[in-house]
Amino acid sequence: MRKMGLVLSLVGLLLVSIAAGCIGGTTETQEKKVKVAILFDVGGRGDLSFNDMAYLGAERAKKELGVEVEYMTPKSKEDMVPLLEQLAQSKEYDLLVLVGFLWTSPLNEVADKYPDQKFALIDSTTGKVRQNEVDILFREQEVAALMGVIASGMAYELGGDTIGAVAGMDIPPLWKFHIGYLFGAKYFEKKTGKPVKLLWQYTGTFGDTQVGYNTAMQLLQQGAKVLYGLAGLTHVGMFDAVRDWNEQGRGKALAMGQDASQEWYAPKYIPISGAKRVDVAVYDAIKMVVDGTWKGGIITLGLKENGVGYWDLDGVRQFAEFAKEAGKLKDMTPDEVVQIVKEQREKYIKPYVWDIVHELEEKIKNGEIVFKTPKTHEEYEQIIRELEKGNLNAALEKGSVE
């Protein structure tokens, strides 16, 4: 009986190999292309945010710069160092792009051992300057400031004066968001004479939608009209809370997303999202290699470099299409999403608000004002206290707001 099974298996294996052999036959191009490996976060693709945006940037580089791109998703953090070493040893890739902060310490361990291998670390920094390593960071304050102005304007359209934010952990990138958001609110206050109150709440997690839901509900009960999601997956719960708040007739409120365009999740209640263009960072890193302009060090991307901002309707459409592919866009087409978002934007973001936004955007872009980046928690608290008092210049490193 057992022998029979063995023979059958071997015959099966043989058949499969033959079939496989026929289907095969890969053709290899002879020309030497720039070859890039994108190493995702452990979450990998399908998050409709960070990792998917890195993919977007790499695909654009593939199309526009003609590079060859391969992708890899490590199983867990323990795999990152050995994978990185093995990829560097292979000397096959002109550039290894590391997506997300989990790669920080693995890169720090490996980078010095392979001086000929180029690395690009996205949205984090090892704190060391190396010739073979580029760290790309974002100036989050700049997008948050614009969102602060927009949120304040929307709050007044909804008949309130309070805006809120569901934030993740009390860590440096979130400090920058907090400073920018509060700055935007106070900037709006200064320009229009309408007072704005900000409720900022850390949830302590980036991965718990239930916590996001509860936190958002609390903020809504305290009178927040617009909530800004700054907590990754946690703030998806915030979107649900805002939708329920409206649909259960408990009041009117709106939400804003961040990083990717998240309007598609509930277009009626999310008229706008802040952008952190991981795709631009990935594309730029690849472009530096293709153009031969590579230089090690730390790069920050802001409004001027199109590294942060808010999503226009084309962006909204693109992510709605992603969501549709992923089967997450339930009963709408991407076109409908764009249509609803357009209407909601016209309804809640008035021209005078856009005027303030554009004015602030211009000042930031031409370097008239530059935001501070706090080094310590004390410094961060200090800046927040001053902003609360209406001293906008406390958040600025360069320039002033009169």
Binding site: L13, A20, R45, K77, P82, T104, P172
Partner: protein
């Protein structure tokens, strides 16, 4: 004992698994031979990586198997590994001593295993339910502690690091932590098959009534087995942190899931400590190679997981079949 019959059974299952896997790959439009060659080329060539990756899995495999032999289903290897990893990390951080860290970590895992055993024996609470709840409690507790108390101020998403003096090194391509794991597996093998305690454990598992008739308490065997199992898992956690990751990140990606994979490892190794060493090496290679399949073929990373799933199921089927037949036959008798 591993005999020839069992060995052939495992080999046939492996072949069957790869055939089924090949069909799945063909259906999804991938070239099976290409995928398999990548899987093996990259999965089993980086020896140090392979041995390091196998280490915690050997330990969680034992954490499942030892209680399983005594008739308890320990799905709590996961949290037993967490506490081992976390307390090991803290002890290493504060004392800079690997030996104390290993002792504390293993003991913590053992006590947690014992706790589940005690609830089963003295309160009659199903160990699966307790263990699953304990898993989640410790997941969140440790995630909280790392994020709020023991984070590294320089890299805020990570825990405090293991100091240089407490790290367990690799000697060339040979991973010291793997040697420790193998030594422990051999010790467990000796304990199970050549000592009084092991004999009692095995008899209690096969038939609690016979154990009682022979004059020893099967409940005591349950407690001992959970203690030993938890100890293995706890040790696995310490070895992973002191030898590979040197810190834990606040989403616990490096330690999450190892306890569950240990169940598969245990089943593959036919609950035999020596078999577990090999099944752990085999599965680690598949896990490592799976990551390269995405890079080299553009297949989604889930494909490798699917393949591993198919292989594990195929390997477990004969075992499950025999268990089922045994139960049925016992039922008739």
């Amino acid at each position: 004992m591993l005999n020839l019959e069992k060995l052939t059974e495992v080999l046939i299952s492996v072949v069957m698994a790869f055939i089924v896997g090949a069909v799945v790959l063909l259906l999804l439009g991938h070239h099976p031979l290409e995928v398999y060659s990548i899987l093996f080329k990259y999965g089993y060539t980086n020896i140090n990586y392979l041995l390091n990756k196998s280490t915690p899995l050997i330990m969680t495999g034992l954490a499942f198997s030892i209680p399983s032999i005594a008739g308890v289903f320990n799905i709590g290897g996961e949290s037993q590994l967490y506490v081992g990893a976390f307390l090991g990390l803290l002890v290493a951080y504060y004392t800079g001593n690997a030996i104390i860290a290993i002792i504390v970590g293993s003991l913590a895992g053992a006590l947690l295993g014992l706790f589940i055993g005690i609830l089963r024996v003295y309160r009659g609470i199903n160990e699966v339910i307790t263990a699953i709840m304990v898993n989640w409690i410790f997941y969140y507790l440790i995630a909280y502690l790392i994020a709020s108390r023991f984070y590294n101020p320089e890299v805020s998403h990570e825990s405090v690091p293991v100091p240089k003096s407490a790290r367990i090194p690799s000697i060339g391509d040979l991973s010291l932590i793997f040697i420790i794991a193998v030594a422990v597996a051999i010790a467990y093998y000796y304990l199970l098959y050549f000592t009084d305690i092991g004999y009692k454990l095995r008899v209690s598992g096969i038939s609690p009534a016979s154990a009682r008739y022979a004059g020893f308490d099967p409940n005591k065997s349950i407690l001992v087995s959970m203690f030993l199992g938890g100890m293995a898992a706890g040790l696995g956690g310490v070895l992973l942190v002191l030898g590979v990751t040197y810190s834990i990140d606040d989403t616990l990606t490096a330690i999450y899931g190892l306890g569950f994979t240990g169940i598969g490892i245990g089943l593959l190794g036919r609950n035999h400590p020596i078999g577990i060493i090999f099944s752990s090496l085999f599965l680690s290679g598949l896990l490592i190679g799976g990551q390269w399949v995405e890079l080299k073929t553009g297949a989604p990373p889930e494909l490798a997981d699917t393949l591993i799933g198919v292989i594990v199921i195929a390997l477990a089927i004969p075992y499950a079949y025999r268990m089922l037949m045994k139960r049925i036959r016992e039922g008739r008798a």
